[in-house]
Symmetry: C2
Subunit: 211 residues, 2 copies
DNA sequence: TGTACATCAGTGAACGCGCGTTCACTGATGTAC
DNA sequence: TGTACATCAGTGAACGCGCGTTCACTGATGTAC
């Protein structure tokens, strides 16, 4: 029998609630200002449903951080697959970053907000994702033998600065309209130049600061 | 007659309202979640007073951006007076930055929040302050003849990256306790190293990226 | 200097509304035997 | 395979409360003559 009765997938409402919060954030609302009734309204469920899945909005925020982590990991995987030549590393990586931001705007809005957000736990979660990202980047650079002259500590610092610079570009990217390709491209180029500058610094680091 | 009757200074309540909002933000609340009644309560005035001075919370936020501008300018002035030798430039500047953040925590909380905040106008105001800061920094570096080999465009980019890196350190600084001197000092050192790395990059920029 | 009037800033009462949260109820799904 | 029961997710009514905003009022300060 082909027409089986549609049954509710478990966790469906839960997903709808998280998606609803993201949608509102993507529309420019700040997560700290969202209310339970507002989110359930957007999700198309009754307010009481909320408590079946989350204790409060902070709780939902923490779950969003986890999902954000998945988005970032997907992005990293794609970058690894596409960046095979060292000379294209920065151009390609930034392009992939920008593409993922455009494809997941609400998530990255949430990330940018969360860094200075109200919930300490969310804040720490996002910072932890960034640390992870930086350390993975350090591994990759080591493996590509691009930074043999740097100590582990110095490499870690370089990667941290790279991740921060890219993260800051988020605020540029999110402040221009999603379809303003010209401006988006400007942000992309600017970010790439930041990274190039940092890598020139890294390439000359030991020699310039040897003690 | 020495004991003149205390008269209400004009604008006193207005100042109290802005200070109240800042206080709440300094306590960890997010500006986007503050309400009019909450702010007036903190200020010790009746809710209706609010409308004598501001149209809504966004309006108050914009005024705070202006005040933030003054704080930043004061900081810049102090840095200019104290940073006379080029070799101490970064150490001293970062130290002054950290000191001002600690002395004006609520203001810088507001700044960090506003960058990804709800009000487009506040966001743009803070970005504009940062641009101004970067261009002043560029002027100073030019005057000190430290960057003669850089084009105007490249210098602007370098200063932008410097300002961004320092601004990002805000989130580090604000996430540690105000009296945790050890951690604050770590952030200070880390930020200084970021700037050193960027300047090593700047010093080697033209030669490394000449086309 | 004094008087009359306009302006301004703060007040307290009141409004309707949306909020977070609780509760008892319902029907679907999973589990034990 | 069928039956009994427990668990789970969604519902609708209801609560008390704090919210933003309005209004008319008050008293102090500024201005004109």
């Amino acid at each position: 029998m082909m027409t089986e009765k549609r049954r509710r997938r478990p966790g469906e409402t839960r997903d709808k609630l998280m998606e609803a919060a993201l949608t509102l954030v993507g529309k420019g609302r700040h997560f700290a200002g969202l209310g339970i009734r507002e989110v359930t309204r957007q999700a198309g469920v009754v307010p009481t449903s909320f408590y079946r899945h989350f204790r409060n909005m902070d709780d939902l925020g923490l779950e969003l951080v986890d999902q954000l982590g998945l988005v970032l990991r997907r992005m990293m995987r794609e970058a690894r697959q596409n960046v095979l030549q060292a000379d294209k590393l920065m151009d390609e990586s930034v392009a992939i970053f920008v593409a993922h931001v455009e494809a997941n705007r609400p998530f990255f809005f949430f990330m940018a907000q969360g860094l200075a957000g109200e919930s300490r736990a969310v804040q720490e979660g996002i910072r932890s994702e960034m640390r992870f990202f930086a350390s993975e980047l350090a591994n990759d650079l080591r493996r590509m033998r691009l930074v043999d002259h740097l100590s582990d500590g110095d490499l870690e610092m370089v990667c941290d600065l790279v991740v921060r610079s890219v993260a800051f570009s988020l605020t540029d990217l999110l402040s221009v309209a999603a379809d303003d390709d010209v401006q988006i491209d400007q942000v992309r180029q600017r970010t790439t130049r930041f990274l190039q500058l940092i890598f020139v610094g890294a390439a000359n680091w030991q020699s310039a600061s040897l003690r």
